[in-house]
């Protein structure tokens, strides 16, 4: 056994147990002299030095800048070097000299400022009482100087900024209170010079404002939805599982906003104007409507068909057509903007700034999940970390041992799985297509439908949801045979295949709705709305069943029947994809069924509780710690593109190219939906004061030159930003080199 590094072979630093006594014994060094109860016992030094020969060598380099950043040592580039052996009489005597200076350690100085004091002491290795006293004075005056500077800085700020800055100070509570008191005393004294009579009044007012602000802050916190549950989940399962629930909450907000907007601008005016719904007499409410959405619901405001195309005359003239069009358009545009912004900020935080080169350091120092409070989760996280460290240490050895034939075999397996996955996805799409065609042949345009016919409409959603549950199991099976270089690539491959499957199914359905349904039905938009309603409801039922089978049964199988499999983990990627798919259905359906977001809201709300119960009862914390932040970026990216873009394109295509149905809905009789805007502009031309709106419409929105110029400008700006980024990267490299060069001297 050789002693190579400063840690030594028998490494007491590594093997210390966690019992309090052993740890405390090692920790007792002269640096803890702030404890007024402890005596200054020089006998401790010997004990400490025996225990940690290596550790102390780091502490004596003078001239380094202090960790607090508030202080800069005036000892400058003192290159006094401590020699390797800490047991010299010099150092022990100078520990003792430090022991003889209790005055420096009392009062405002806590262990957080101690380091600076000790460094100051290190300038005078030969302990001499007079020198020591001088050093103490110098340090104390420097400390006070810095404090005065800080107070001056704080006084110049506004009250809110002051509070924020004080909160951010990395000092102990007593020191912060001290500084705050001084700042406030200074402020009140300056105030008293100017306004003698108003000081009390002003002070009380500002105090009550601040108290009010604090009260509002605490009230806002209680309103946060599900805060306690999120904390519990994060504590027991870690942050990667928490990302799923946060994502669910975020999507719920989208739906709440959509519901409020739609209900407020489209449905309420209609209800206010005309409370009686015009339902034909031969249609009554049967229970099946809740599942199929047809029948009784067809004539309510649930669907496009329930809205009239007239201008409602009430308190104001309310143009339903414009209201319908603009509400939906504005909502989609706002969604797009929110998604782009959150995607960009998430990308910036989680991808651009993160450096893959420091993976080992990251693993050791940054990957510990401090939110875990459950013992089992902690234990598993530790195992996890150990396995990851071992893997990364041994991966270099593995890389060399792969032969050419093995690699070819791997590539072959990859190609085969991708081919099979694509075939499965295309096959599902084709079967849905033929199923839809068969369904259309059976259905008729005339109302009312018999019970059997309505039940038949449930066939397509049932098959779609079944495919969405079963086919991903095949994908997971393929995944088991393949070998990926990193765990993340494995998750991405699985995600891409699932996305492909869902996109192909949705694509086929949309094709069917855009091309076949308008020809067949006279009032086709409500039919599409109903199809979407059915998809949403059946999807919800299958999600609940999926929780049951996926997690509950797996738990039972894993614990009782086949203990080798173990307790299941919560599959975050699959669940997030299901959420994204559900939200896409809602986005497509907004145009055809304005109240669909209400159903979606209810669905997500119930789903949260179901998933939470299923998680806490059936699952264990994940064995592999993923990088939660990067996964979240991927989820938002998936949400936006392809799903949101796809939904937006469908709605835009419907509004632009398809002819609205002639007999029902707000756009009856028009050539296409967008002509609503041209008609409105045409009406506006008659009014002289709104010339500018007409001008904007004709020269900006309808002119191609404008878009061409805009594209050119955007491309130029992108190029400039790209060059800026390249320049900054070079600058970072240069600076890094300079840091190394500077420290060498």
């Amino acid at each position: 056994m050789t002693s190579s590094s400063s840690g030594g072979v028998f490494n007491p630093a590594y093997h210390d147990s966690e019992t309090l006594e052993v740890d405390r014994r090692d920790k007792r060094s002269w640096t803890h002299h702030t404890n007024p109860y402890a005596g200054e016992d020089p006998a401790w030094w010997a004990e400490r030095d025996d225990a940690e020969p290596g550790a102390s060598s780091g502490g004596w380099r003078g001239g380094e800048s202090f960790s607090m950043g508030l202080f800069s040592t005036s000892s400058g580039t003192n290159s006094w070097q401590h020699d390797a052996n800490p047991h010299t009489p010099d150092s022990s005597s100078h520990y003792r000299s430090a022991a003889g200076l209790p005055s420096l350690m009392t009062g405002g100085m806590t262990m957080r400022w101690r380091g600076m004091a000790m460094r100051g002491m290190s300038m005078f290795p030969n302990a001499d009482p007079t020198h020591a006293a001088l050093a103490e004075d110098a340090i104390r005056s420097e400390v006070e100087n810095e404090e005065q500077n800080l107070i001056k800085e704080l006084i110049a700020l506004s009250a809110g900024e002051q509070t924020r800055k004080i909160q951010e100070l990395p000092q102990s509570f007593g020191e912060k209170k001290n500084i705050r008191r001084q700042v406030m005393a200074f402020k009140s004294s300056t105030n008293s010079h100017h306004f003698l009579c108003c000081t009390d009044c002003c002070r009380n007012m500002s105090l009550s404002f601040r108290r009010c602000g604090n009260g509002i802050k605490s009230a806002r916190q209680t309103l946060k939805l599900w805060r306690g549950i999120m904390k519990e989940i994060g504590g027991r399962f870690g942050s990667s599982v928490l990302t799923y629930f946060l994502f669910l909450k975020w999507l719920l907000m989208f739906n709440i906003f959509s519901f409020l907007v739609n209900f407020g601008f489209i449905t309420i005016p209609l209800l206010v104007h005309d409370l009686s719904a015009n339902i034909p007499s031969n249609v009554s409410f049967r229970g099946l409507e809740l599942l199929t959405g047809a029948g009784y619901f067809n004539y309510t405001v649930m669907y496009y068909g329930g809205y009239s195309n007239e201008t409602l005359h009430g308190l104001v003239d309310y143009n339903m057509q414009l209201a319908y069009f603009f509400t939906i358009a504005v909502y989609m545009v706002l969604c797009g903007i929110v998604l782009i912004f959150s995607m960009a900020s998430s990308f910036k935080k989680n991808y651009v700034l993160s450096d893959p080169a420091s993976s080992r350091a990251w693993q050791l120092l940054c990957s510990w999940d401090f939110s875990l409070t459950n013992e089992r989760a902690v234990r598993q996280r530790k195992n996890n970390l150990r396995v990851q460290l071992k893997e990364s240490l041994s991966e270099r050895a593995e890389k060399e041992s792969i032969t050419l034939s093995k690699e070819l075999k791997q590539v072959g397996i990859h190609v085969g799985s991708w081919f099979l996955s694509t075939c499965l996805a295309v096959g599902c799409g084709a079967s849905i297509f033929y199923l839809c065609q068969y369904g259309e042949e059976q259905a008729m345009d005339t109302a009312p439908w018999s019970l059997l016919q309505e039940a038949e409409t449930l066939l397509v959603p049932f098959v779609v949801s079944l495919m969405n549950i079963v086919i991903p199991l095949f994908f997971s099976l393929f995944n088991k045979f393949e070998r990926y270089s990193t765990h993340r690539r494995q998750i991405y491959a699985l995600l891409i295949r699932n996305v492909l499957l869902r996109m192909s199914i949705l694509g086929v359905l949309c094709y069917h709705w855009m091309n076949v349904v308008p020809q067949k039905y006279s009032c086709w938009e409500p039919m599409v709305g109903q199809a979407l309603y059915r998809l949403v409801i059946i999807d919800f039922l299958f999600l609940m069943l999926g929780s049951f089978f996926g997690e509950f049964l797996s738990n039972v199988i894993g614990t009782k029947l086949q203990p080798r499999l173990g307790v299941p983990e919560f599959d975050v990627a699959r669940n997030v994809l299901e959420l994204v798919y559900a939200q896409t259905l809602a986005w497509i359906g907004i145009y055809f069924s304005p109240l669909l977001p209400a159903i979606q809201m209810l669905k997500f709300f119930i789903l949260f509780y179901i998933k939470k119960v299923s998680l806490t009862r059936n699952c264990q914390p994940p064995r592999r710690s993923g990088r939660a932040a990067q996964m979240q970026t991927i989820f938002i990216f998936l949400l936006f593109f392809p799903f949101f873009v796809g939904a937006l394109s469908i709605v835009a295509y419907t509004a632009w190219s398809l002819t609205p149905s002639e007999q029902c809905g707000p756009f009856q009789g028009l050539n296409n939906t967008f002509s609503v805007v041209s008609i409105w502009i045409h009406d506006l031309e008659a009014i002289p004061t709104s010339d500018w709106v007409v001008w904007i419409y004709q020269n900006v929105i309808r002119s191609e030159l404008f878009y061409f110029l805009l594209t050119l400008i955007i491309i130029a700006i992108i190029y400039i930003f790209w060059q800026l980024t390249q320049g900054r990267k070079e600058l970072i490299n240069l600076l890094r080199q300079r840091i190394i060069n500077v420290s060498l001297f």
Binding site: Y14, E168, F173, K231, N350
Partner: protein, 187 residues
């Protein structure tokens, strides 16, 4: 706002609210948590600033900290005497920094202090080895320990002095977005 509580004066509460990230209700709730650890030691009236310190053993047995491998270091860093015995001020300060409202820089500063086991304001190799011990519990071999620590210093040490200063650590934190993202405290 009804000032029905008699534990703190209004000025004390204002000072707490200004110096920590907590609201009034949370401060009171935390006070009751503190008191529950040792009801006979902690008086119900803090208006005359009683000097009460709870020993580390009680702090370390709180459910939020009991399973945290770094609980002792956390208590030591935030306590005034450096031994883990905490007054109410230290207690509030600790949970304020650990709460989700504290900014990342502040947390990074304290995380650095937590990982710095020998309190020399640098994370040197022995500090890293101790961190590794807390996180893996004696299951790595000596060689692996040495390799991991060397690798960490190689990757993160910018000014090449063989140990990590606060700036090195902060530079690494900036590029690690997962760090301390969901650090929780139960208030």
């Amino acid at each position: 706002m009804g000032n029905k509580q008699t534990i703190f004066t209004a000025q004390q509460l204002d000072a707490y609210q200004d110096c920590t990230y907590f609201t009034r209700k949370e401060i009171l709730r935390l006070f009751y948590r503190y008191r529950d650890l040792a009801p006979q030691l902690v008086p119900l009236d803090y208006t005359n600033h009683p000097d009460v310190k709870l020993p580390y053993e009680l702090i370390g047995s709180m459910p939020e900290l009991k399973d945290n491998p770094f609980r002792q270091r956390i208590a030591e860093v935030f306590s005034e005497d450096g031994q883990g015995n905490m007054t109410l001020n230290d207690f509030l300060d600790m949970f304020s920094v650990l709460s989700e409202m504290a900014p990342r820089d502040l947390k990074a500063y304290y995380a650095f202090k937590i990982y710095d086991f020998n309190d020399d304001d640098f994370i040197c190799k022995s500090d890293l080895e101790k961190t590794l011990n807390k996180l893996t519990r004696n299951e790595l071999t000596e060689d692996e320990v040495r390799m991991v620590c060397e690798k960490v210093i190689d990757e993160a040490d910018l000014d090449n002095d063989g140990r990590l200063s606060l700036e090195d650590f902060q530079h690494m934190i900036v590029r690690a977005p997962d760090f301390l993202r969901y650090r929780n405290s139960d208030t």
